[in-house]
């Protein structure tokens, strides 16, 4: 064994150094780096998939964007194609698209004639504000309801909450949006109408973050803020209802499962106060599956916004995506695809990281 140059007494080789460095990196950091690298790879995959799918769509973008008469002039058609890079082979178009992406350039929208990035900067915050408010409400209510239902198992509160969650899951969101708009806005006159703020207040708070509520606070415009919150309330609650139902059910079963575990019974036998047991033992373990569900739910919230945005005339990414798709505005469609894909990636990343934080066993895998 001592003849072996790799024996312990000889100087450590490059492999050992790597192992050493790796050992010095905190397992959580290593876990994070691995996840982020994976996310970057996935982001590249998204660009490829959106590009291919977008270019598979039947229909001619030239015809969709040039006027009927301009189409009759081959010179104009050729110029338009050249201007939008459509005269090049597909792979070259993809390379150009990728090069642009590295410079933060998503191309120019054929419908608005503005950089797609500028359009997205306008529409994405509106959707994030809506979906963000919805997920926040869902988390607060869904987890609370789930815990209550579990603790009150088979009693009246449990039955009521389970029924409510079943309704929340079963009712189609767009239908609920229509009904909510009709009932709260039109019949009861409790909520304000379409859009993000009252028409007369539009633009009163300068866009800083793009989130209307935050911008209103930054500008110190209380009237804009209340109007924005009012406009946000109904669509956000409508969007949240499904997720609330989902989270209630998952939290309930997760809490019930943990409550049956030996360590909880032991803690209880030791005489620890109920609150400590609930927050330190039960919720901590139960949160892992709940986070998974919440992450997935956020994704479905984003797609759910398309119809809700249409009904509440909410100027978000859903309306932009629909308009881009129906006018064959390829750069805009790719931009939307990329952003939505990246939002999903980020959520998955956050979910993974939260796992690691909550449950140390996950980091080691």
């Amino acid at each position: 064994m001592s003849d072996n140059p790799g024996a312990p007494d000889s100087p450590p080789g490059p492999g050992a150094a790597r192992r050493d460095r790796a050992a010095r990196v905190h397992p959580l950091a290593r876990f994070l780096i691995r996840r982020i690298l994976l996310a970057v790879l996935m982001a590249w995959g998204i660009t490829l998939v959106t590009f291919i799918l977008t270019n598979l769509v039947p229909g001619d973008p030239v015809a969709a964007n040039l006027g009927q008469r301009a189409l009759g002039d081959p010179a104009i058609v050729a110029q338009w194609r050249a201007e939008h890079g459509l005269d090049k082979p597909l792979w070259q178009q993809y390379v150009i698209h990728l090069q642009g992406l590295f410079h933060g350039d998503l191309g120019v929208s054929q419908q608005s004639h503005r950089p797609v990035s500028q359009d997205l900067a306008e529409f994405v915050p509106a959707t994030l504000e809506l979906a963000g408010a919805a997920i926040l409400v869902s988390l607060l209510l869904g987890v609370a309801f789930g815990v209550i239902a579990a603790l009150r198992r088979d009693r009246a509160a449990d039955h009521v909450l389970r029924l409510l969650s079943l309704i929340g899951i079963s009712v189609p969101t767009f239908w609920l949006a229509l009904v909510a708009f009709y009932v709260f806005f039109y019949r009861l006159q409790l909520t304000p109408g379409s859009g993000r703020v009252d028409a007369a207040l539009g633009g009163a708070a300068p866009a800083v973050t793009g989130l209307q509520t935050v911008d209103a606070l930054l500008a110190g415009r209380w009237d804009v803020f209340t109007s924005a919150v009012g406009h946000l309330a109904t669509p956000a609650l409508v969007l949240a209802l499904y997720t609330i139902g989902l989270l209630t059910r998952f939290t309930r079963s997760a809490v019930l499962e943990v409550l049956g575990q030996d360590y909880v019974r032991a803690a209880r036998a030791k005489g620890l106060p109920g609150r400590t047991i609930l927050f330190r033992y039960v919720l901590r373990s139960a949160l892992v599956p709940v986070i998974t569900v919440a992450g997935l739910a956020f994704g479905s919230l984003l797609s759910g916004t398309v119809l809700v945005e249409a009904i509440f005339a909410w100027p978000g990414i859903g309306q932009y995506a629909y308009k881009s798709a129906t006018t064959l505005d390829l750069p805009a469609v790719m931009g939307v695809g990329l952003v939505v894909g990246i939002v999903y990636l980020v959520i998955n990343l956050i979910v993974d990281v939260l796992y690691g934080v909550i449950d140390p066993r996950v980091r080691l895998q």
Partner: protein, 526 residues
Amino acid sequence: MATRSQTAAVLLAGALALAACGSGGSSQSPAASGGGGKTLVIDTSFDLKTADPGRTYEPTGLIVGKAVYETLLTFDGADVTKPVPALAESYELSKDGKTLTLKLKKGATFSDGSPVTADDVVFSLTRVRDMKGTPSFLLDGVEVAKTDDSTITLTSKTANPALPYILPNPALGIINSKLAKQHGATEDAQDKAEQYLNSASAGSGPYEIESFNVSSQVTLKANPKYYGTKPAYDKVVIRNVEAATQKLNVQRGDSQVALNLSGDQVTGMPATLQVKKTASANVIFLLANQDSGVSKTTPNAKFVEAVRKGVDYAGLLELAGEGATQAPGVIPSQLLGALPAAAATKRDVAGAKAALAASGLTNPTVKLEYPSELTVNGLSFQPLAERVQANLKEVGITVDLQPAPVTTALDNYRNGKEELGLWYWGPDYPDPSDYLAFLPGKTVGLRAGWKAGAAKEIEAAGAKAAVAIGDDARKAAYEDVQTKLNASGPFIPLIQPSQNIVTAASVTGLEYHPVWTVDVADLGVK
């Protein structure tokens, strides 16, 4: 054990719900109070691409263009049969119909205070023509020149009696050439001023653009330097809203104007709202392809006759709702040269069956292509297509429905590949000459596989109409073209759907206009 956290959760939920309702209830729209805030909210389903007048060709864009830019001539209210002065105080068409001379009004200014000059006019019109945007065709072959500081001449190679009817199009709005040039405006395809014109206005109209967003909202503010009558509203918000929501908004007072309600949606409106029902200038028609390479069935003249006689026009009107009218010809009722209602085809099932028998076809099956999600004035094409299918079934023609999304369906339509097609045509400008496009070898004719030379008599009638001068001569000529088209052409005009505009009781002066839908500067407060 967990009662405390439980209570906390319930309290939190309650607080959230209260917060949501409370803040919502407190924010009543100031616009809802009518004229008080002097803000007018118009809800419409956006069809908008740009605010650059020289590139505008979509209904919503034309509303914006009409408010922000002024044209040489315009129309008074809804009457499109007589152009009236706007930036030009008078006009005169030469006897041969080739030269239009316009005298500019004095004292007109742009929103930056500078005067509107003959040079601005020449630049604006030349720019529209030469940068080859969608509306460029409006001035095809028209030379624009300045004779002196207040005289403009437009010269066409052939007689162009339609020109005074074309000039009111908001696409031909006069822009502040100095300002526009500073922001990239040129008189050729290299023009780069669009982005600037999407955020600021360079016009002399009663309104200026405050904010512009193609997918959600356009805000206009009154132009403080406007030299004409000041508009009644300080601010006009045009929002992109679905038709169903439009209805609730206007009923609740959240908006004052709803532009896209269907006939069904405006029935039973409360008496507090004003409902204006007018036949729109859009004509929905069927086309039967004349190209034997596309179909063995539809080029048969007797087959087309069977379809023409087999359609139940009254049934289609029921679908379209009140205010809709049957289209007697391809030219809509508002325009000079429209056929009288009495000339419309009546349903004749026996006649249709006889025509089908004479065609020599037995149990023909044809494909009917149409845009599935397109709605015209709130009317969807799907039920229309289904009704036509049912009508023709009674005659013995099997119709195979082939719906497709607009962008896909348009490809086949524009390339003349549809066997039977269901489409509509809205006037580019309110002049019958726009409908010469339906003749053999022209835009719509070719889409029906109708090549030049395919119907010599109709083409001769069209050529005669194109150069006819004087209202009476033109009226007679265009009626003749349509009568001939109805007798043997491949088009079957169906209906003009109703344009239903609902306004709050406080809004006065609303007129439906076939080109720009509504002139916001004309609207008043009661």
